[in-house]
Amino acid sequence: MANLLNIKINGKAYQVESGTTILDACKQNGIRIPTLCYLKDINAIGACRVCVCEVKGVRTLVAACVYPIEREGTEIVTNSEKVIKSRKTTLELMLSNHNNECNSCVRSTSCELQSLAHEYHCDEHRFGGIKNTFEEDVTPYLVRDNSKCILCRRCVAVCKSLQHVHVIGPNHRGFKTSIGCAYENSLNDVACVACGQCITVCPTGALREKDDIDKVISAINDPTKHVVVGTAPSVRVAIGEEFGYPIGTNVEGKMVTALKMLGFNKVFDVDFTADLTIMEEGTEFLGRLTNGGVLPMITSCSPGWINYIEQYYPEYLAHLSSCKSPQQMFGAVVKSYYAEKNGIDPKDIVVVSCMPCTAKKMELNKPYQENKDGIKDVDIVLTTRELARLIKRAGVLFNCLKDDTYDSLLGEGSTAGLIFGATGGVMEAALRTLKEITEGKELEKIDFEAVRGTDGVKRATVNVNGIDVKVAVAHGIENAHTIMEEIKNGKADYHFIEVMCCPGGCVCGGGQPIQPADVRNSIDLKAARAKAIYDTDKKAKLRKSHENVEVQELYKSYLGEPNGHKSHELLHTKYTNRKK
C-alpha cells in the first residue's frame, strides 16, 4: 500500500503519497505551479526553474516538477514573495535573450512563455546585453527559429524518446547553447522523419510548421485555377480546439461550411480515399496472403513512418503496402476521375489537402507521387493549425456557422475511413471489410476493440474466413521500432501491421492544434480526440468502406477492379532507400 504522508502546502494540511512530486501534489489539491520544461511522461529535467517553491528546512528553492515529497511533515510554500521574485527573474532572463516579437509571432496567445511573462508582469528589458542571433532552419515542413528557443528541451525529449530518432539535441554550452543537429546540419540533411511532434510540444514559437497559407489564397484568387480541397479524418475532431470547443468535439459540419465560404470550388472528404485505401490495401493483403507474397505487410498511410523506414530500415521496404497514402490517392483521383467527369484539364486543378500532419507537406514532393505526365497529385498541404488561421483571417465566424455536407462524387466517407484518424483505425477498417467480403456474410461484431486504445503496441489474432490472421498495431516511432526489431530478429509472425508515425495516430499529428503543457499534463490528448472519432463511428450508418456508394461508383465507371491496371497506375507508389 502506498505510504501516505501528512504535509502542508501554503500552511494548509494535506495528505499525499510518498514520492509524489511537489508539482503533482499541488495539482491534486487545486494549486497550479507554472512550468516550462516539464512535460508529463516526456521531459522531467528540472532545467528551467520557473516551477520553484520553498521547502521548509531546505536552503535553496527547489524545482517542484522533479522534487519528490518523501518526508512526513514536509512544508511547502508555492507563492511567497521570494518564490514569485525568483520565477519573475528567471523569466526576465529568458526574455533578455529572446527575440520578442509577439505581435507577429505565430504562437502569440498560445505561447507558454508569453502567458507566463504576462502573468508575472515581466519587464523584458530589465536585463540588457547582447542576444544570440540565429539563422532559421527552413524545411518544406517545419521552421526552427532558435531566437525564440528557451532551451527547455521538450522537442529533444520527444524526438529522442517517443520518436526514437534523436536528430536534434543541445549543442555547445553556456550562453552559446543551441538546439540543433549534428555538425550544425540543417534538418533537411539529417534523418528527420518530418513528424512535427517537436512542434506540438514546443512551448514557444521556436518551432512552427512551414506556412503555406498564402499559396492557397493565391490559388483561390486565380481565375484560371480550379481549386479542390479535401480534409483528412482527424482534422474535424481537432480543429474545433482552435475555436474554443472542448477537446474531442467533432465539428465536421461547420468546417465544411467554412471551407465552402473560403471559395474552394469543391469541398471533398479524404475519408472517401481512406475507404478507397481499404479496398486497395485489403485486396493487396489478400493477394499476398494467398499467393505467398511478402509478409507481414505493413501499412503505408503515414508519411512520417515511410520517412522512417526509408531512412532506418530500407531493407524492409518490400513489406510496405504499395498503396499511396489517402492524401495522395485523393489528389490522384481528383486529377483523373473528377477531372474527366467534369471536363477540366488536370493542369488547371489545384489540389489542397488539409491534414493533421507536417510530413504530408514533404510527401507531396516525393518521387512516384504524380501521374504519368508528371503532374503532382497534390499541390498544397495545410495543417489543421494553418486551416484554422486561414478561416480566422477570412473573417469567417466559425462558431456561428450552420452545418453543411461535403460535395458529391468524392464526398462520401464511411466511418471506417474516419477511424483512420486514430491508432488502430486502419487495421479495424481493413478487418471489417476483409472479413465481410471473404466470408460473404454480414459481420456479427463490427467493433474490433483489441486494436483500439493507446497502448504502444497492440497485438491480436483475427479469424478471417478460416485463416488466423495475426495483426499488430504500433503508433509513435518508438513503438514502430520495437516491431521492426521483432521482425529483424525473426521474432515476429504477424501477417499485417499498422504503423502510425505519431503517438496516438493522426489525432495527435504534428499539424494538430497545440495544447499547452498545463493541458497535456492532465488530459491524454490521444484518448480524448480518438473518443470523438469512435463516438461518431458508433452512431453512424455507413461503417464499412466497401459499402461506400461513391467508391463503388468509382470502380464501376472508372477504375475497374481494386488492384487492377488503372488502380496501379493511379493509386500505388514506390519507395526509396534513403539510408543516411
Binding site: E135, H166, V167, I168, G169, R173, A182, Y183, E184
Partner: protein, 165 residues
Amino acid sequence: MSKICQVEFKETAEQAKKLQEIIENYKHVEGAAMPVLQQAQDIYGYLPEEVQKRIAEGLGVSEEFIYGVATFYSQFTMNPRGQYNFSVCLGTACYVKGSGDIMAKLKDTLKINEGECTPDGIASIQATRCIGCCGLAPVMVVNSDVYGKLTVDDVPKIVDKYLKK
C-alpha cells in the same frame, strides 16, 4: 551552413584499428562517450566528422548525441592543426595594442575562422591567452616563430612567407 571542418579526412590503417578497439572496449559501458571521444582525439589530433559517426554507430547512440558532447567540452576540437599554426595572443596587453585587428586580418587573409584549418590542411588559426612577452605586444606565434610589435599590414606578409614555402 558552412562545414565545420573543410580538411579532407585521412587516416592510417593503424589509426582506424586503434579507434575500432576503443569503441569495442566501451561498447557496453554507460557514459562511454566522453572517454571514447578523448581517446579518439588522442589518435587523430582532432575529432573528424567521420570519426564521430563511427563512434555514434559503434556505441549505438545518435550522431547528434556525440556531437552535443563534443561541442560541450572545450577540450575537444573538430579541426586539425595546420602544418602552420597561426596563433594570435588575445591576452589583455596584446588586446589593448590591437591584436583583435590582427586576428581579424588573419582570418580575412586565410579565409577561415578562429579554431579552423584551411581545406588543404596547411594553415590553422588559434587564439591564445598571454604567452609572456607583453613587451612585444601585439604578438603572433607561427609554430615556434614569434612575431612582435605587429601592424595589420604585417599579417599578409607573414602569411605569405609560410604559404609560399
